[in-house]
Symmetry: C2
Subunit: 189 residues, 2 copies
Amino acid sequence: MATDLFLQNGFAGTSMSAIAKASGMTKASLYYHFANKEDLFIACVTDGYQHALSSLETIVADDQASPEEKLSQAFDTLYDTVINSAVGRMSPLIAEVSRAFPQVARSFREEYILPHEALVAQILAQGTKAGVFKPIDKKLMSHLFIGPIVTLSLSREMFAKFDDLDEHFPVGELKAGHLEAIKALILIN
Amino acid sequence: MATDLFLQNGFAGTSMSAIAKASGMTKASLYYHFANKEDLFIACVTDGYQHALSSLETIVADDQASPEEKLSQAFDTLYDTVINSAVGRMSPLIAEVSRAFPQVARSFREEYILPHEALVAQILAQGTKAGVFKPIDKKLMSHLFIGPIVTLSLSREMFAKFDDLDEHFPVGELKAGHLEAIKALILIN
DNA sequence: GTCTATACAGTGATAGAC
DNA sequence: GTCTATCACTGTATAGAC
C-alpha cells in the first residue's frame, strides 16, 4: 500500500498524508504505529524481503534437479523478483533514501542482497562440486549475474509509461541470452 | 553545481533555495534563468551528455587499434563514465524524476543511452567485419555490456558512505572479469 | 539581471479528546 | 487505537524595487 506509493512517487514525493489516506487512516493514527517516515519506509522495504528469498531457497534445496537446471530456475526467479516484485523495483528508491539514512542501505544489503548472493553462490558451488561448473569469483559472478537484471529493472521503471516498453526491453529474450552467456562462461566442456 | 546537489540529495530533496545558495544567487534570480525546477534539472542532465559521448567517439574512429583493443578501451571509458561522471551516476535520479516528468526519460534515452549503444554496436560491428567477433544481438549486448556497470554505479552510490566501499565493489577487478566474460562470449576461436 | 519581501500550499510531527 | 485541530517549518513560485 505505502510501498506502492513510494514506488510511484519516490520517498520525498510521498507524503504521510497520502499514505494515511490510502490506508484509510488519518496521519495521527499512522504516527501511532510508526515513529516517523523513515521507520515506515524501512518497514515497507524489509516487509518484502522474506518471499523474495524463499523461492531461491527452495531451488537450492532441491535434490532432484541438476546444477544446470537449478541455474536456469534461479534465473527465472531472479528476473521475476527483481523486475516484478516491489522490493526488486525498490533499488533506485533505496539508493535515494540511503543518502539521508545509511542504515537503510545497510539493512537492504545485509538482509536482502547478501543472502541472495549467498544462495546463488551455493548453486554455483554445487555445480563446481559436481564437476560441471568452473569455479568463479563470487563478487564477479554477482556483478555479471545480478547486474544486468537490476539495470533492466531500472530501465523498465524509467520507461514504464512508454507504450513501446516491451519492444525495447523484452524480458524473455534478454533473460535467455543472459543465461546462455553465463553458461558459456562457467560450463565445463 | 546544482548537479552535485541533485546527486547528493535527490530531486525532491534538493530545494531551489539550496541551489541558489550554492550558486551564489538568490532564489528569485534562479527563477529568472529557469522557468521552474524541472527545467533546471533537465538542463543539468543534458549538460553532461556531450563529454561522456565524445571519448567513445574517438575510440570508434581510431584507425590504428584492433577491434579487441577498442573493446578494452570502450570498457575503460564506460566504467569511468558511468561510475565517476555526474551523468552516469544520475541514472537512479533520472528514474525518480521520470515518474513525474516522462520527457526527462525520453531525452535521456534519445540523447545519451541510444548514442552510447550505437557506438558500442559500431565497435562490435567493426570486429565482426574483421572476422574476429561473432555477431551478437544489439539489445542483448547492451544488456550484458552496460547492465553490470550501471548496477555497480548504483551500488556504489548506495554504499558511498560506507568505509568498505572499494572492498565490496572493487571496480578494477570487476571490470577486468567483465571484459574477460564478454570476450569469452564474442571472440572467435 | 539581481535583489528583498512575501504569498500560500503543503510538510512532518504532536497535543489532547474520545 | 483513532480522531480533530494545530504546530512550526519549508517548499515553489512571484511581485516589484533597483
